[in-house]
Symmetry: C2
Subunit: 162 residues, 2 copies
DNA sequence: GGCAATAACATAACACGTTATATAACTTGT
DNA sequence: ACAAGTTATATAACGTGTTATGTTATTGCC
């Protein structure tokens, strides 16, 4: 059974990028499972943004992440429920909601920055290493590599190599 | 406000691929809006698969598209509601559900194959044309190009060039 | 033949993306 | 100063992906 998205070439590039991104996130999740407050991989960029840029309004967070404002609003609610971020009203503008890392959120980010995120970055970099040429070919190569050895296996073998 | 996903490099590649795939699908949607039974861009690969491979079981469709079986089951329900596909029991195995294009579905596919799909393919190919080198750099280039001129503008300028 | 294991599809619950629209706060112009 | 327009966030409705689990049909073995 051949892969239809691959066979469709440029026509289905959108669907294919989405599919590959989802697989990458799912693989990454296995590595992120080591963290204490378990967090979906898709929410890590929110924490990373707040860590790098400091407290942000909902709108600024949406712009930094490149997603819609309602998407940010909903995920922020989840992060507040998990106790990883805190929100408060804007100092000048009462319409704004300022989102900031909580103590627990900062702790999680520090733990991730120290160990996990660098390992994931290295594993993904290794996954993409040596690739060159047309985009479709590189995507096919990454799909094949991922099918041969999932990301968490790559990260662990990297570990052993140290 | 800089782009956090871009700044995170390989670490957020999954999120970034998903985001770009979604944008590509959304842009593509504008072009697909010409079709009569309006269909979300993500459902086109289902029709393309059935067109290329003929009637398929739910499981085979899942494998051909590289998505989960429940995902296929749900989208097939939607396609049946729109009258684009029909389902029947498997001839040998009563557990199976065979999915096939309906007359309306075949009509839609023929219309799309004749005009729209080639135009989209060409527009996406043009979007990726001339790119080379590391994956992250190509992604950044595509994001930039898309921000400069959305896909449907590219398709239309191609049209004019004929 | 009949019970247990397997396999195919359905369903539920969750995460997450979108667009369209509502609500509330700020800004503007007269 | 107040009505009108704009802007920030919230909410609703939809599509789609996932995993976990339930149902039903088939297989296999004794």
């Amino acid at each position: 059974m051949d892969d239809i998205l691959r066979a469709l070439g440029h026509l289905a590039l959108g669907s294919r990028l989405k599919r590959l991104g989802e697989q990458l996130q799912a693989d990454t999740q296995h590595l992120l499972d080591e963290l204490d407050p378990l967090l979906p991989s898709g929410q890590h960029p929110f924490l990373a943004a707040l860590d790098r840029l400091g407290p942000l309004t909902v709108g600024d967070l949406a712009q930094a992440l490149g997603v819609s404002q309602p998407g940010v609003t909903r995920t922020v609610v989840r992060l507040v429920e998990r106790g990883l971020v805190e929100t408060g009203p804007g100092p000048d503008d009462q319409r704004q909601k300022i989102v900031a890392l909580s103590a627990a959120g900062r702790e999680l980010v520090e733990a991730a920055k120290a160990e996990l995120w660098p390992r994931i970055d290295a594993a993904v970099a290794e996954l993409c290493a040596g690739l060159d040429g047309p985009l479709l070919a590189q995507l096919a190569a990454i799909e094949d590599r991922l099918a041969a050895a999932p990301l968490h296996r790559r990260a662990r073998s990297k570990e052993r190599a140290r």
